[in-house]
């Protein structure tokens, strides 16, 4: 066999190995076996809105929900996950409301109304921050203050952010920020509040609420909402989150 023929065969074999190797890596990546967050670049999420009305004549219930549908054009799996998380939270709010109607509302012909106004506070290729403003009217009862709850989805890790700790530099920064935000929300409140802090990032700040009871008012419902300015907590935020918020 001539030398040129040997070189040709060797080059062909090397090319074949390179192609097979590339294909192998690509398949592994597709199956999510290689996790390298730096290589996952998602497109900017697109938000589409849908109006949902649910009525239940037996219990005189009407539920109005304006919900987003998140579309991430280059990753169907992630956008499916995000939308499932949103749906789960809506279902949880609906369940709470139906349970309250079943045992607390009067059967006086008045309609029990749940309004869930959902807002996309922040949508970047890294984070989706969503707020749920819930207003409830139970027949025969005085309305409570609206409640503000949140869901944050980490698009890079492809999971719901639990306790929002990843927004901050570390555990200590998270804890300090939580205390600071709660104190800020309750600073002007007169009474003896006992409430849990909920929060989520928004453009140039943090949206926050504290939901619980006021012990000085015989355990009456308490819901305080407010915005925390970026200057107040920026020292605690993780750099990537900070850049997302201030962009």
């Amino acid at each position: 066999m001539s030398i040129s023929k040997k070189i040709f065969i060797l080059a062909t074999a090397m090319m074949a190995i390179a192609i097979l190797g590339g294909l192998f890596y690509w398949f592994k990546l597709r199956n999510n076996e290689i996790v390298n967050s730096n290589t996952v670049i998602l497109n900017q999420p697109i938000v589409k809105w849908q109006e949902i009305t649910i009525t239940e004549s037996e219990q005189n219930i009407a539920m109005y929900i304006r919900a987003p549908r998140i579309i991430i054009s280059n990753n169907y799996r992630v956008d499916n996950e995000v939308n499932q998380v949103i749906t789960r939270h809506i279902e949880s709010l609906k369940d709470d409301f139906i349970s309250a109607v079943s045992t607390a509302a009067e059967d006086n012909g008045d309609t029990n109304i749940l309004n869930v106004e959902i807002g996309v506070l922040l949508a970047t290729p890294r984070l989706i921050s969503i707020s749920f403003t819930t207003t409830e009217h139970l027949a025969g009862l005085n309305d409570n203050e609206p409640e503000w709850t949140f869901v944050i989805f980490d698009l890079v890790k492809e999971e719901l952010m639990l306790e929002n700790i990843e927004l901050f530099r570390d555990d200590i920064a998270w804890s300090k920020a939580v205390k600071m935000m709660k104190n800020y929300l309750l600073a002007d409140y007169q009474g003896d509040p006992s409430c849990d802090l909920f929060f989520a990032p928004k453009y140039k700040g943090i949206a926050a609420s504290c939901i619980g009871i006021d012990r000085s008012r015989r355990g009456e419902h308490l819901s305080i909402t407010g915005d925390i300015s970026i200057s107040m907590i920026q020292e605690f935020l993780a750099p990537s989150v900070l850049s997302d918020i201030i962009q």
Binding site: R88, H89, E91, S92, D95, D96, S99, A100, S102, T103, A104, A105, E106, D107, L138, G140, L141, N142, N144, T149, L160, L162, E163, I165, D171, I172, W174, S175, K176, V178, K179, S194, D196, G212, I213, R218, G219, E220, H221
Partner: protein
């Protein structure tokens, strides 16, 4: 209004001849049965104070047949006497009402001993005491652990499972009641009756004795009934060694959808350390004692939710150790 008649065996007076000391008293009232074994000396009175049963009634006069049997227990020959009687309890009375029954027990020994000792008869006075009380029910354990009720001020509040309540009335399809423990103690609340006109409130709940839990700061382990559960706290807000009360859950916390695998995740137990921290399920802590074994939360929940310390506020104590 429905009331409850609590009937107790108050005391046993032993007079007449002595027939022995090993006395058994059996009382049967409307299907409830009490048996007491007690060593009693002739000529004395033994205080018993044991409940025979609780009976619900909406009548002004509660009547019931009573069967009382007294046995002096011997190895060979038991001496037995009994009586049938009746009690009539005025349910409007606030003071305890007593009913005394006399039972004669004639000794029934062998023929030989009869020749020596003759036939002796003991007289037992058995005193039953009826106390009128309000009927008790409990809140049910709902899907998320909270029962939403209406207050008299047109607001709504949430009650955890197994809160003792006193039903007051039923009006326009709603049942009115007053919780006797927890955050909403003493408030007049209401919930509707179910579609079949039965109550959401449940009966025959036996609260359990207070729990004694432990938490190891160094191991980050919560210990309960010989089991260990992984937990986390927060270094910057450390727990201090000591004994703290674990309270009855106060109000719903968080949301239902954070931890898919943790049922009753909205039920947190307050701990009276530094303005109420909590024992709850979760992943992080800003000072609370957070159980990170989310799938095992129900074991802790089930142990705590029915336990009572007896002060209307707490389910038990937590000992924080090194």
């Amino acid at each position: 209004m429905v009331k409850i008649v609590q009937l107790k065996l108050s005391k046993i007076k032993y007079s007449g001849d002595s027939i022995g000391r090993n006395i058994r008293v059996e009382i049967e009232v409307l299907g409830k049965f009490l048996r007491i074994d007690k060593r009693i000396k002739a000529g004395t009175t033994a205080e018993i104070n044991r409940e025979v049963g609780r009976f619900e009634t909406d009548q002004r006069l509660f009547q019931a047949d009573v069967l009382i049997t007294v046995i002096e227990r011997d190895i060979l020959f038991n001496d037995v006497g009994n009586t049938k009687g009746n009690i009539e309890v005025n349910t409007a009375a606030t003071k305890p009402q007593q009913f005394v029954f006399e039972i004669q027990v004639r000794e029934s020994r062998s023929l030989l001993s009869r020749l020596f000792w003759g036939k002796r008869t003991a007289i037992f006075e058995v005193t039953l005491e009826a106390q009128i009380g309000e009927i008790e029910r409990c809140t049910p354990d709902t899907e998320d652990g909270w029962l939403v009720a209406q207050t008299g001020q047109g607001k709504w509040v949430s009650l955890p499972a197994y809160i003792t309540v006193y039903p007051k009335s039923i009006k326009n399809g709603r049942e009115y009641f007053i919780p006797s423990e927890g955050t909403n103690r003493g408030k007049l609340l209401s919930i509707p009756l179910k579609d079949d006109n039965s109550s959401y409130l449940i009966s025959n709940v036996e609260h359990e004795s207070m729990i004694n839990a432990k938490y190891s700061i160094s191991e980050k382990v919560f210990m309960l009934n010989g089991k260990k559960y992984k937990a986390i706290d927060y270094l910057e807000a450390p727990w201090e060694k000591g004994i703290y009360d674990i309270g009855i859950p106060d109000y719903p916390h968080g949301s239902n959808d954070t931890y898919a695998e943790a049922i009753r995740q909205k039920v947190w137990f307050p701990i009276n350390f530094e303005n109420a921290r909590y024992l709850h399920v979760g992943a992080r802590s800003a000072g609370c004692m957070t159980i990170i074994e989310t799938t095992r939360w129900m074991e802790i929940y089930n142990a705590l939710i029915k336990a009572r310390k007896g002060d209307f506020k707490n389910v038990g104590t937590l000992k924080v150790i090194d």
